[in-house]
């Protein structure tokens, strides 16, 4: 899997404070686990990689994204399914995941996050030598 250098996983960064009235959208996600770790995919339409913020604080993972869409001046809303401009969702991580090695990639509004298991928990192939 290729790594997008524009996305940085920021650790222990202070959460930004914001008004209570601001609504968050909950992005749709696929989460699955295999022997190497957990993969998370999120739909974040309109979020450019620089408006995406992934934070790991202790065992909490927070994914936040701000929608940035160019709109012409004097535009009036006629219809809206998407009624907020900020996505947020958070998860509790478990200790077998190596939070230092989380990698992220963003393509066409889809975020793919790889949360690998710690080195010592990675599956190992043991070769059997026949003497």
């Amino acid at each position: 899997m290729s790594k997008n250098k524009e996305i940085k996983t920021r650790e222990k960064q202070e959460m930004q404070t914001r008004g209570e009235s601001e609504a968050f959208l909950r992005p749709a996600m696929d989460i699955y686990e295999d022997a190497r770790g957990i993969t998370l995919k999120a739909d974040l339409p309109g979020v450019s990689p620089d408006r995406l913020n992934i934070q790991v604080d202790g065992n909490t993972l927070v994914i936040e994204g701000q929608v940035s869409i160019t709109m012409p001046e004097g535009m009036e809303a006629l219809y809206a399914d998407v009624r907020a401009t900020r996505y947020q969702r958070s998860f509790n991580l478990s200790s077998e995941l190596d939070s230092d090695k989380i990698s992220a990639e963003m393509k066409d509004g889809v975020l793919t996050l790889n949360l690998p298991k710690r080195e010592e928990l990675q599956p190992r192939k043991i070769e059997v030598k026949i003497g």
Binding site: I31, G46, D81
Partner: protein, 147 residues
């Protein structure tokens, strides 16, 4: 003592009422009628439409879709967008959440009547398809100069 208790009850009811209003806002259960082509909340892809005197802007929130595979048509002022998004999960993995839409989709919506079908442009960026439809000259508000 009773006054005290009733006071709490009032607060609780008020809290419920506030919650109910918030839910209605979220799920769109307002008393007015909804559009005949409107869809359930959370339908893929979400669409926002904005209008200015010069143009109508349609934003289709379709992540992970090849924009070239989309079938977009405009019949009079009825815009139809159809396409497919395949979400594949590895067979051997243990799946915890599978919320992302997978399969074929079609959305239709009525735009203002004065959109010009010959002046439509489309761009796809960060998973959002942005259609710009120019409105016909005749109906645009005009500045009339007094000489």
């Amino acid at each position: 003592m009773w006054g005290y208790l009733t006071g709490i009850d009032d607060d609780v009811f008020e809290e419920f009422e506030r919650m109910r209003r918030r839910m209605d806002q979220l799920y769109g259960a307002w008393p007015g009628s909804t559009g005949i082509r409107s869809v359930a909340a959370g339908t893929f892809p979400g669409i926002n439409v904005g209008a200015s005197p010069e143009q109508v802007d349609v934003y289709v929130f379709a992540t992970g879709v090849d924009p070239k595979s989309l079938d977009i048509s405009l019949q009079q002022n009825l815009l139809t967008i159809a396409g497919e998004r395949k979400v594949e999960l590895p067979e051997k993995a243990q799946v915890y959440r599978n919320e992302r839409f997978s399969g074929g989709f079609q959305r239709a919506l009525t735009l203002p009547e004065d959109v010009d079908p010959d002046k439509v442009s489309a761009a796809y960026r960060d998973g959002v398809l942005h259609l710009t439809l120019r409105r016909r000259e005749a109906v645009r508000p005009r500045q009339i100069e007094v000489k």
